[in-house]
Amino acid sequence: MKLNKGSLFALFAVLELASDSRRQLSTTDIAEKYGISSHHLAKVMRHLVHAGLVQAVRGVGGGYRFAGNVSRTTLLDVIQLFEMLESELDVPNHGSKAGDPIVAELKSITREIDELTKAVLDTITLETALKSTRKRSATAGDIPSRD
């Protein structure tokens, strides 16, 4: 599985905001903390607002606030706003018919893998992800683990 940047930035933002739902943060605050492009993050934030996961707060000191349900929203709910998480087979357009049964079998196998991937991501709530990331931060001396 390869997560695109949009999904990753969205998870940074959603988990950061969900860690304290009363707090408001600007795109710049989040982008600086995670060392990511604020321009790209701004686009991501618009998707998250549209999906109702975050709320834009206007005015002085405005920014974004978490608006989802931390114990119900799953990682898949966030990721699927940005990608389908479906394996692709790079099948040649003019391939011979001889390859059809193999392609069909491979498609069936990748579908099985995709379903498992989704099943895993759909059972990890933001609350559980936050709990795990806090544990990692504590053991790594507040340095996010890269494994």
Binding site: S71, T74, T123, I124, T125, K131, S132
Partner: protein, 150 residues
């Protein structure tokens, strides 16, 4: 609001049978009594330490149950704890009942020198899967496979 203080966990008693049947949301209604009678015979009346059936009570009322056992050497797996049933009354969900029962079953398994706990849940049962995830369970070493028999 969490009300962990008022939750009491104890081993199930034969007299809990009817309330467990009522709390169970799995399977067709007509098959539940015979299924649970069998489970009670093995896990409540059997008196074996490696079979654990716990109930949770709040204000003297049974509001949840968890059942597990030690299984060993299935395809080479060293002894491990298996949780195969878990239920919490809808009105008592979100109050830490499941967590208290799971912590207690893990405590008892650990007393028996068991280091791993395992379970298997339908992938569409998001609520139960999310609960086990919240307790730190991850995809394990063993992969469930199945087929329709021709």
């Amino acid at each position: 609001m969490k009300t962990r203080e008022s939750i009491a966990i104890r081993s199930a008693l034969p007299s809990d049978l009817d309330i467990i049947i009522a709390l169970d949301e799995v399977g067709p209604e007509e098959e539940k009594p015979s299924y649970w009678r069998g489970i009670f015979d093995h896990y409540v009346k059997g008196g074996k330490k490696d079979r654990i059936f716990l109930v949770a009570e709040t204000d003297g009322e049974v509001v949840g149950f968890i059942v597990g056992e030690v299984r060993a050497w299935e395809f080479g797996s060293p002894p491990c704890g298996w949780v195969f049933a878990l239920g919490v009354s809808p009105k008592s969900r979100g109050k830490g009942v499941g967590q208290r029962m799971f912590e207690e079953i893990c405590r008892r398994l650990k007393q028996g020198n068991i280091a791993t706990v395992r379970t298997m849940v339908d992938r569409n049962n998001k609520e139960t899967l999310s609960f086990f995830r919240s307790q730190g369970l991850r995809t394990g070493r063993y992969i469930e496979l199945e087929k329709e028999i021709d």
